[in-house]
């Protein structure tokens, strides 16, 4: 039962991610903006990542009749989501995130090396770092523009980061409620990213060539 509920949450994330992806795709088709193209890839990846986990869990439960869910589906889904988080961070200019000095490299490198015993550990830690970076950049943007929608986006990315952290921590306590809380937090975070869409006036037939 617990797996079904978690699958439902993941499928909700799949739908939310796809809707955000479709919206940014419309934006890209209308304006030809590379930023919207990157966000388009990001949201589709996040949505598909949730979908892989959700559908994978259901397939295992109902089709293959497994009692335990294989971790490779989870790892694959989270990996696809990480691609999405990368594109959000990349849109902010990720080059500035990685310091060039040897001193900083020596501090940052162990963060990637320590959890090397599991691919999922690595993927989740990368996702967490990318999302925290995206959150900080969006907060900085809010400080400049004072737009409330930026605050919602920052909150959304922050909750996604928290969700990834809790998801990583649930590996330490596999039987606990942490995984469920992690997925729920991520869904709420993804939902917060909807707020800016509600402020865009959408009209029917808004299709203009993207080669401007």
């Amino acid at each position: 039962m617990e797996v079904v509920f978690e699958s439902a949450l993941n499928l909700l994330g799949f739908v939310v991610g796809l809707v955000l992806g479709i919206f940014t795709h419309i934006g890209f088709r209308n304006t030809g903006s590379p930023t919207l193209f990157r966000l388009n890839i990001a949201f589709f990846s996040i949505g598909i990542g949730f979908g892989v986990v959700g559908f994978g869990d259901l397939m295992e439960l109902w089709v293959f009749k497994y009692t335990t869910v294989d971790t490779w589906i989870q790892t694959l889904g989270i990996g696809i989501q990480t691609v999405g988080y990368f594109f959000i961070a990349f849109s902010h200019g990720i080059k500035s995130f990685f310091p060039k000095s040897r001193y900083f490299k020596s501090i940052a490198a162990p963060l990637f090396i320590l959890p090397g015993n599991s691919i999922e550990h690595i993927i989740r830690s990368i996702s967490f770092i990318l999302l925290v970076y995206g959150t900080i950049e969006t907060i900085m943007s809010y400080m400049e523009s004072r737009k409330r929608s930026a605050l919602f986006v920052a909150t959304g990315l922050g909750l996604l980061a928290l969700g990834e952290f809790l998801g990583w921590y649930s590996i330490v306590f596999p039987k606990s409620i942490l995984y469920f809380v992690s997925v729920s937090t991520k869904i709420v975070g993804l939902g917060a990213l909807f707020v800016p869409i509600s402020q865009v006036p959408m009209r029917g037939g808004m299709r203009i060539g993207g080669n401007v």
Partner: protein, 96 residues
């Protein structure tokens, strides 16, 4: 104070906004006027104007003196869409 650079898309937005809101007369805005208002060099503006006219976002009218540019209905739709998606990208701290 940090210097913010305009993207290609925002320059297009500025040009279309100028032709829509700040045209000196009904026949449209001249190249000189657009250079001043949109703050773009002649070389860059010429290429952008060529693209915008070919895409049907601007209408070009030639008089005996010079070419003038006026925003089309398609251009107005584009500008509205651009502004909406610019707001969306702003929410992410990004520029389109």
């Amino acid at each position: 104070m940090a210097v913010t650079y305009r993207t290609h898309m925002s320059i297009i937005g500025d040009i279309l906004t100028t032709t829509r809101d700040e045209s000196p007369d009904e026949t449209g805005a001249s190249v000189t006027y657009l250079i001043r208002k949109a703050n773009v060099s002649y070389g860059r503006l010429s290429k952008i104007l060529e693209t915008l006219v070919s895409q049907g976002l601007l209408e070009q009218s030639s008089s005996d003196r010079a070419c003038k540019y006026r925003i089309s209905d398609r251009g107005r739709e584009f500008l509205q869409a651009y502004r909406g998606f610019r707001e969306f990208a702003d929410s992410f701290g990004l520029r389109i």
